[in-house]
């Protein structure tokens, strides 16, 4: 087992304090001239690298390795409710194809549900090599035991090197269960995925509330698993001619048993969803009063935009919680986003920084939103927005007159 040891004989009064100070987790405790490593240790090895030389030592054991050659291909979980395929699936197919091309892997889909054979055809228009379908009445609703059993069967049968799962309600529940069953790594909410020549999947995700990016690998186990949120990757173009094939898979009746019984399914009211919006106007704390929302609404209407905002506006009740962008709200990836009076805390920008065009209007030239905006406009929204409304109206009139 890898372990961290402290060479107590090399300790002296001066380096003890240095080591205590170095540990960012407060896991080194000074006790009567000796140094104790507590359960707070995160094995960051900072004390080894930055501490007084030779005092702390990290002893690494040889990890058990996996035969990477016997795990091939990239699998994508087809996320759906009652056969309606969630678009994140297509985005993951797009990413899987990119990753697969590096190491010359096939791309597979695993589709678990009921009455879905026809729906599987649709996937063949996006360039997957093979779709594995588990079609049973017991799989009509997402229930954890049979879905995990089907996923397990797919992995045993195909031995995919990597698996991509949408970070949807279902994906976030199913993927960890599967990962634990195979005692393998799972990285949540990846924002970047890359493939190494040795088939290791490089997974990058925001950590600590998006204040830091962590690059994660899973070198000694297979399959490597990652979840990715909707609107992070790009869906491939739909091809007219289908390619690839569909394979129906069988399960034992006992694998379909569940102690969960779905009693009722109610469809949520279809409402405007900022996650699907192509154009968004996002407002922040610089908005002084609720009546000023009228001006925002007018601009939004002119641009065919949906209105979104930051958390303080939700708390003020000026927009509803479903319109909140950010880590505790929604992730959006519109073609255009105009932020008005938003300073650009990472909690917000993590939810919108992959938008195609970012316009930011803010009075403060040092606002961090300007670090991510493509067009940073230093100005007061109360002066710029009314003028902009007039300018857009003017050019629309002109267009009509022509």
């Amino acid at each position: 087992m890898s372990t961290l040891i402290c060479h107590q004989e090399k300790l002296n009064e001066s380096n003890i304090q240095a080591l205590v100070d170095i540990c960012p987790f407060g896991a080194l405790e000074h006790k009567n001239g000796t140094l104790e490593i507590t359960a707070g240790c995160k094995m960051c090895k900072l004390c080894v690298k930055k501490g007084p030389q030779g005092v702390m030592e990290f002893i690494e054991d040889a990890a058990t390795t996996v035969d990477k050659n016997s795990w091939k291909g990239i699998g994508v979980y087809v996320d759906h409710v009652e056969g309606e395929i969630h678009p994140v699936t297509l985005e993951l197919i797009g990413k899987a194809k990119e990753l697969a091309s590096v190491v010359n892997f096939p791309v597979y889909c695993v589709f678990i549900g009921y009455n879905i054979k026809d729906k599987a055809q649709e996937l063949l228009h996006y360039g997957v090599d093979e779709v594995f379908v588990y079609d049973y009445e017991e799989l009509k609703h997402f229930r954890i035991e049979p879905y995990t059993a089907a996923f397990e069967d797919f992995i045993q049968r195909i031995k995919p090197s990597s698996l991509l799962v949408g970070a949807t309600t279902i994906g976030r529940s199913l993927a960890p269960r599967v990962a634990a069953r195979f005692r393998t790594g799972l990285t949540a909410d990846c924002t970047t995925l890359e493939m190494k020549e040795n088939t290791d999947l490089v997974q990058i995700r925001p950590a600590f509330g998006g204040n830091i990016m962590a690059q994660i690998i899973c070198p000694n186990t297979r399959p490597q698993m990652a979840t990715v949120r909707y609107k992070v990757m790009n869906a491939p173009e739909k091809q007219c001619e289908p390619s690839g094939k569909i394979t129906l898979c069988q399960l034992d009746p006992q694998q379909l048993v569940s102690s969960i019984n779905v009693l009722k399914v109610t469809h949520k009211q279809i409402e405007e969803n900022i996650s699907d919006a192509e154009v968004i106007i996002a407002v922040g704390r610089a908005l002084k009063s609720e009546k000023d929302m009228a001006m925002i609404k007018e601009l939004a209407q002119l641009l065919g935009a949906q209105i979104a905002g930051t958390r303080p506006l939700v708390e003020a009740g000026w927009i509803n919680a479903k319109q909140q962008i950010g880590l505790s709200g929604r992730t959006v990836k519109p073609k255009l986003i105009i932020t008005l009076g938003i300073s650009g805390a990472v909690q917000f920008t993590a939810g919108m920084n992959s938008s195609e065009q970012i316009f930011a209007i803010n009075k403060d030239p040092l606002a961090s939103i300007f670090n991510i905006a493509h067009y940073g406009i230093i100005g007061d929204l109360y002066e710029v927005v009314p003028q902009l409304i007039e300018d857009i109206k003017g050019s629309k009139l002109l267009a009509c007159a022509r």
């Binding site: 087992m1 890898s2 960012p24 490593i37 359960a39 707070g40 240790c41 995160k42 960051c44 409710v81 969630h86 609703h141 954890i144 035991e145 309600t169 279902i170 976030r172 529940s173 960890p176 269960r177 634990a180 069953r181 790594g185 799972l186 990285t187 949540a188 909410d189 950590a207 509330g209 204040n211 830091i212 990016m213 962590a214 690059q215 994660i216 690998i217 969960i260 019984n261 009722k264 399914v265 109610t266 949520k268 002119l302 641009l303 255009l336 990472v346 920008t349 920084n353 316009f359 030239p365 670090n371 067009y375 940073g376 100005g379 710029v384 927005v385 003028q387 902009l388 300018d391 050019s395």
Partner: protein, 262 residues
């Protein structure tokens, strides 16, 4: 009924910087608190106990100071608490953490219901609950919005799916992860603080576990490795415009036209 709630001590703030020279995390202070999502799980347990009676235990994993959050749970009305703590668990990722806690749970009791918050504010993965359920061999439902009905051998819950809300009944024993706002968490009580201040917190260490295979815990038991950490990227293709509001708005309108948004 016997209920267990999993709780975690998290940093009081998510403000974190990377030292640009050393590439090392700079954590300011040691300020910490209970993961806010766990309060909803504790409240759910208390509500269920009010209905059916029984006991509520909490379990946490972390350094000895994580006892603080167990004390906080006592102040809310939780009956017993245990802390899984050992140097051997250092450096655990999601998988190793889930396995470690599941081993701890096995030391405590057979529970009817295990409740977890939706996720933590420091790890943010929402994965530990489902992975624990797998290791304990019990079914789980995530994203529970509300409790519909509590029966003797099962519970009916509403779960939040992408486009639907589903009502499902799940047999005990099981694990649920609950959404924020399922119930309004109560505040810790001062009276309970006094009456529970000497209550013992059970410490569970590696040697108490059934599975003493060291390679399943801590860094060794963690399949994922952090290769590096770095600050979020800054978009380099950017322009900054200044001027009078008339100039600025005209410039924006022109650009929007050019990009075909107008």
């Amino acid at each position: 009924m016997k209920i267990l709630v999993c709780i975690k001590q998290v940093p009081g703030t998510s403000k974190i910087d990377v030292d640009p020279v050393t590439g090392v995390l700079k954590r300011d202070g040691v300020d910490s608190k209970m993961n806010p999502y766990d309060l909803f799980a504790i409240e759910t347990a208390l509500k269920l106990k009010e209905q059916k009676g029984g006991t509520i235990q909490v379990i946490s994993m972390g350094p000895p100071q994580a006892k603080e959050v167990i004390r906080e749970a006592f102040m809310m009305g939780v009956d017993e608490g245990a802390l899984v703590s050992d140097r051997k668990f250092a450096g655990a990722d999601v998988l190793a953490t889930s396995y470690t806690i599941s081993q701890g749970v096995r030391q405590l009791d057979d529970f009817d219901l295990i409740l977890c918050g939706k996720q933590t504010t420091d790890g943010d993965t929402a994965q530990v609950g489902p992975e624990m359920a797998e290791y304990l061999g019990i079914p789980h439902i995530a994203n529970v919005l509300s409790i519909v009905d509590l029966k003797d051998t099962s519970i009916q819950v509403e779960m939040d799916m992408a486009n639907t809300i589903e009502v499902a009944e799940i047999q005990f024993p099981c694990l649920l992860t609950v959404e924020k706002d399922i119930f309004q968490p109560r505040l810790p009580s001062y009276k309970k603080k006094l009456s529970t201040k000497d209550r013992e917190i059970r410490m569970i260490t590696f040697k108490d576990f059934q599975d003493n295979n060291e390679t399943r815990y801590g860094l060794s038991g963690s399949p994922t490795q952090v290769e590096r950490i770095f600050p979020p990227s800054v978009n380099s293709d950017r322009e900054t415009w200044t001027g009078t509001s008339a100039e600025l708005s005209a410039q924006i309108a022109d650009k929007l036209k050019q990009l075909k948004f107008v």
